[in-house]
């Protein structure tokens, strides 16, 4: 049964249920959200935000986590600003979304973009609330896409679309502890936040600039049971030894990027008692499906039939999704759905046997003398080499074929041999041999560089353009 529907209780009602005391914490503070039943993190000013279009611009994730509960049903629109938003885009965001108020904290950058708005400070602390709140409004939740250039698109959801993929929680014992490597102000992280809020679980959030090892140590100290992140974030966590060895989640979840077989196998080996699942979701299309059989890709019977309120089809090679969890549209009215109500995800899928596999993004193709290559497909092959932790394949300009494929590779373990040593050259040869056995010639990298790390963006995804 889905949580979607007009009668869904407000977040404040959900967290006020006394049967499962939940705590939400970051590096600096831990709060009991049940205290929001008669409390507020806004001092006496909450009513000033009633009916407004509010920019959520706190630096702290924990403050945003509190503010979302308080604003749902009170504000007309919540515009969720991701932590890595470019301040230069703020004026355009404010005018396009009709923003007339902002929730800030001590870490919100000062600047004149927020001048002229009603500004209210949210503290990561809950005090008794004197105000009586006005009747509940329908609130729009606006999220930013993680586009690479220009002003991000603003995607309109509401509580019903955002919780469409959530199952009604089983009678909770309050023992579940969720953690996420995502920021909750991105779609993937917000899903985990809502799972924790609606599932009566606790949630361990990361703090800005916190090293992965410190975050993992806190997750271990809180006894994390459910942990979520992108494949890139998981690969980085697996490299964070020994901190990764201290956690023992029951459920490991990947989404946001292609989960290849190598990362699924690594997680199964690292957490033999956990169930490892990967999910497909996007800010526009919502959560489309989960795959829990430990294999990359998804079964072909997911396409065609309607499953859990989600229909999928493949048109011109890309996955299209129609779902009650899909966004309502973009702020500004640009259409999101095609005539049949489907969102084009831009993710290219290919069928091999009884499964579909993600091949890459429509815009991410490298053209090698007229032959099209998806970098993700080559990365999946390189990542299967036993010495490789993660890799990035990119096009390098070439006078003969326009582009040629090269790869940056991060090895497992420490002690990378000296540059151009015989061991290094032998390992490069071995990785290339492994590629030649699996891939056609034009997809085999012309060169491999060993690098200590790859850049992972605040969205949790590998940075593909420099």
């Amino acid at each position: 049964m889905s949580m979607a529907g007009a009668e869904a209780p407000s977040l404040r009602c959900i967290v006020a249920q006394k049967d499962a005391p939940r705590s939400f914490c970051d590096r600096g503070a831990a709060l009991r959200f049940t205290d929001l039943a008669r409390g507020t993190s806004f001092g006496g000013g909450l009513r000033a935000l009633a009916g407004r279009s509010v920019l959520l611009a706190t630096a702290s994730q924990l403050a945003s986590a509190l503010a979302l509960i308080e604003l749902e049903g009170l504000a007309r629109r919540i515009v969720i600003l991701p932590p890595d938003a470019d301040p230069a885009h703020l004026p355009a965001i404010i005018s396009t979304a009709g923003i007339d108020a902002a929730v800030i904290d001590d870490g919100t950058p000062s600047g004149n973009a927020l001048d002229g708005l009603v500004r209210l400070r949210c503290l990561p602390a809950i005090a008794p609330m004197a105000d009586k709140l006005p009747p509940r409004l329908h609130t729009e939740w606006v999220m930013m896409t993680s586009g690479t250039t220009g002003v991000p698109k603003m995607v309109v959801h509401d509580l019903a679309t955002l919780t469409a993929a959530l199952q009604v929680p089983s009678p909770a014992d309050g023992a579940d502890v969720w953690g996420t490597f995502y920021d909750i102000r991105r779609y993937g992280g917000l899903q985990i936040y809502l799972r924790a809020v609606c599932g009566r679980a606790s949630l361990v959030l990361s703090s800005a600039g916190e090293p992965v090892a410190d975050h993992l140590a806190r997750l271990a100290a809180h006894g994390v049971t459910h942990l979520s992140g992108t494949p890139s974030q998981w690969r980085r966590a697996l490299m964070t030894v020994p901190a990764i060895e201290a956690i023992a989640p029951r459920y490991v979840r990947l989404s946001g990027e292609i989960a290849d077989q190598a990362v699924l196998d690594s997680l199964r080996a690292a957490f033999p008692n956990a169930s490892v699942g990967h999910a497909y979701a996007s800010t526009e299309a919502g959560v489309a499906f989960d795959v829990n059989d430990g294999l990359a890709g998804f079964p072909i019977d997911y396409v065609g039939a309607v499953r859990n309120g989600v229909a999928m089809k493949i048109l011109d090679g890309t996955l299209r999704i129609r779902s009650c969890g899909a966004a309502k549209g973009y702020v500004g009215g640009e259409p999101l759905l095609d005539a049949a109500g489907f969102v084009d995800t831009g993710d290219i899928v290919e069928r091999h046997g009884e499964r579909f596999y993600f091949a890459g993004r429509k815009g991410g193709i490298i053209n090698i003398g007229g032959l099209k290559v998806h970098p993700e497909e080559i990365e999946a092959v390189i990542n299967r080499h036993p010495c490789v932790r993660m890799s990035l394949v990119r096009g390098r300009q070439n006078p003969v074929t326009g582009s040629i494929v090269v790869a940056d590779v991060v090895l497992k373990g420490e002690g990378l041999a000296a540059d151009k040593s015989p061991q290094q050259l032998a390992l490069k040869d071995d990785i290339l041999k492994h590629c030649r056995e699996t891939l056609p010639r034009h997809k085999v990298p012309a060169a491999i560089s060993f690098v200590p790390a790859l850049k992972v963006a605040a969205t949790g995804k590998l940075v593909r353009r420099q």
Partner: protein
């Protein structure tokens, strides 16, 4: 290793990797007949850029079209100076 030897070594290696048979690598060998196809040459230019630090074709202001192996080696020797 000289530039010429580096080029010949890489050509032989790429031919092995791509399953191609090279013609005898003499100065006056016409490149179009050497046995590498355009992808082979693309890989060669990329590998030489890593080893010699230059891509004389992309760096040149005017288009360079070496015809023989000797011309090709000269482009790299010239690019190095």
């Amino acid at each position: 290793m000289s530039i010429k030897l580096t080029i010949i070594e890489q050509m032989e290696q790429i031919a092995r990797e791509h399953g191609k048979i090279l013609a005898p690598l003499k100065e006056d060998l016409v490149l179009a007949d050497c046995g590498l196809d355009s992808l082979g040459f693309a890989v060669l230019v990329a590998r030489l850029e890593d080893r010699l630090g230059i891509d004389p074709f992309s760096a040149a202001e005017e288009a360079v079209f070496p015809v023989t192996l000797g011309d090709f080696v000269k482009v790299y020797e010239h690019g190095r100076r």
